[in-house]
């Protein structure tokens, strides 16, 4: 095992290795020895990983390796699945997630799903405001919230005259950007994205990658992707999961050019057996 794997094992520890960054790079999330189960089956085992603030971290790995499960642990959505269990710790800004109300965690940690899932009974506007309406919070200026969120999601110009249409009347790519706007509207500190482009064409994909780059200075993004080029284009850091274990994590450039683990190299180059 390499030093990269152990990086961030102790909360607040100084990362070691070649890419030891400037001290400004604070860790937003620390995952410590995390194991997540469905029934008796472990989907991820002993994952230890740190996620620096205000960066894009990509999670890659073959289908079924536990990427979605790991992501869903980060906003405590995993435990909403019947029969699911977790052990280990996740620290958000140094505080254990389990000590917080999951409702509060999920307001700080937003999520975008693989398939666009706008609320079919709500208009575009109400979808953007859903994070307020569904939590009983009243935004100071709903119109401003809607415009800002839709602009950040690069959707404003397309829907500004269609705010009262049902959210599901948009195209697939627009629906996904609407879901991103919905997540961003409540100003989360972390944005989890589970293969947000897998149902989209290359143009829509490019727009979403662009907007991820744009929000990254303010929001910590964790993005699951099957697409190596996408990971290389949008992320600063990449974590490679295999069969529920974290094989390697490091700066994206390093992972893609000089991976420490043979398995990583084989996966990245497509020689996988």
């Amino acid at each position: 095992m390499t030093s990269a794997i152990h990086e961030g094992l102790v909360p607040g520890s100084i990362p070691v290795g070649r890419d030891a960054p400037a001290p400004a790079r604070r860790n937003k999330i620390e995952v410590v020895e995390l194991t997540a189960r469905y029934g008796n089956r472990e989907a991820i085992t002993g994952v230890t990983l740190s996620i620096p603030a205000r960066t894009v971290t990509a999670i890659i790995g073959p289908s079924g390796c536990g990427k979605s499960t790991l992501l869903r642990c980060l906003n405590r959505l995993h435990e909403a699945t019947p029969g699911a269990g977790v052990s280990g710790r996740i620290l958000l800004d140094g505080r254990d997630l389990r000590a917080e109300d999951p409702i509060v965690v999920r307001r700080r940690v937003g999520m975008v799903f693989q398939r666009p899932n706008p609320f079919p009974t709500m208009s575009v506007r109400d979808n953007v405001l859903a994070g307020f309406r569904l939590t009983g919070v009243r935004p100071r200026s709903p119109e401003e919230v809607v415009e800002r969120a839709l602009r950040r999601a690069a959707l404003w110009n397309e829907v500004k005259d269609a705010l009262d249409r049902p959210g599901t009347s948009l195209s697939g790519g627009q629906q996904q950007r609407l879901c991103i706007a919905r997540a961003l509207a409540v100003e989360p500190e972390v944005l989890l994205m589970d293969e947000p482009c897998s149902a989209l064409d290359p143009v829509a994909t490019a727009r979403i990658e662009e907007l991820v780059r744009e929000v990254a200075p303010e929001v910590t993004v964790v993005m699951v992707t099957h697409n190596m080029q996408q990971a290389a284009r949008v992320s600063e850091r990449t974590a490679f999961l295999y069969l529920g274990r974290l094989v390697e994590v490091g700066d994206t450039a390093t992972i893609f050019t000089r991976p420490a683990e043979r398995l990583t190299e084989e996966y990245i180059t497509g020689r996988f057996g």
Binding site: R106, R107, P120, T121, G131, T168
Partner: protein, 290 residues
Amino acid sequence: MNGRAEERDPAIRRFRRRRLADRVFLVLTVASVGVVLAPLVAVVGSVVARGAAAVTPEFLVSVSRPVGEPGGGIGHALAGSALLVGSALAVAGPFGIAAGLFLAGTRRNRIAWAVRASADVLTGVPSIVVGVFAYAVLVVPLRHFSGLAGTLALAVLMWPLIARATEEVVRMVPRELSEAGLALGARNWRVALRVVVPAAFPGIGAALIGAASRAAGETAPLMFTAFGSPFLALDPTEPVAAVPLVIFNYAVSPYDDWRRQAWAAALVLCVLVLAGNLVSRSLIARRAPR
């Protein structure tokens, strides 16, 4: 090729045999559809034939008249049925929807098992038994028949239907939708009320209308609860008229005029229940996309 060569060709003979079998089955299928449809056509046909002539606007609005006096109607019974079914729906609707949501949200849980089992048992209980129950609970202590007792009986009949149908349609709401709500930091009950119920709304509406039209046709549970009344009585503590009770009372009466009115009332009831079922079905058919 001449005819006799054709006769001898095994492929052609096989083809003919299959064509014959095909036709036989077609005839059998059509015949069995006829057997199934015949009672329906007979029932609807006789109700229409004997009742249609007496169904006039006046018949629908005027109240019962004594035998021999011309021009009586079922206005009082329509109003009474609307009152009974409407108030039963107001009681059983919220309970049924809440129970359905609870059942859809929990899988292996003792309370859920008990609720589901009692709903299923109650669905199977003969409706007259439910009437006896309402009689014992409300009529005996209050010492007279009342719309209240009829409402209770109908509500007890309706809630398991509403609960199980709600459970079914709520289960069909994609999990991704409720997860989207949870991921925004919404509490479970808010996700249920603001995301899941609206998405399942057509189905829940269908469940409510279906249960209401079933209750509108019930006679047995009303016979010793709401009891029936010849007047336009909308006081829930008094006996209340209902269309099925009018049909029953008039049909067993010895007067030709009343029996004619029973047929007409039967036609009105059929049309109402059928309309309810059609609306309910059309709601189910155009359920929210995805």
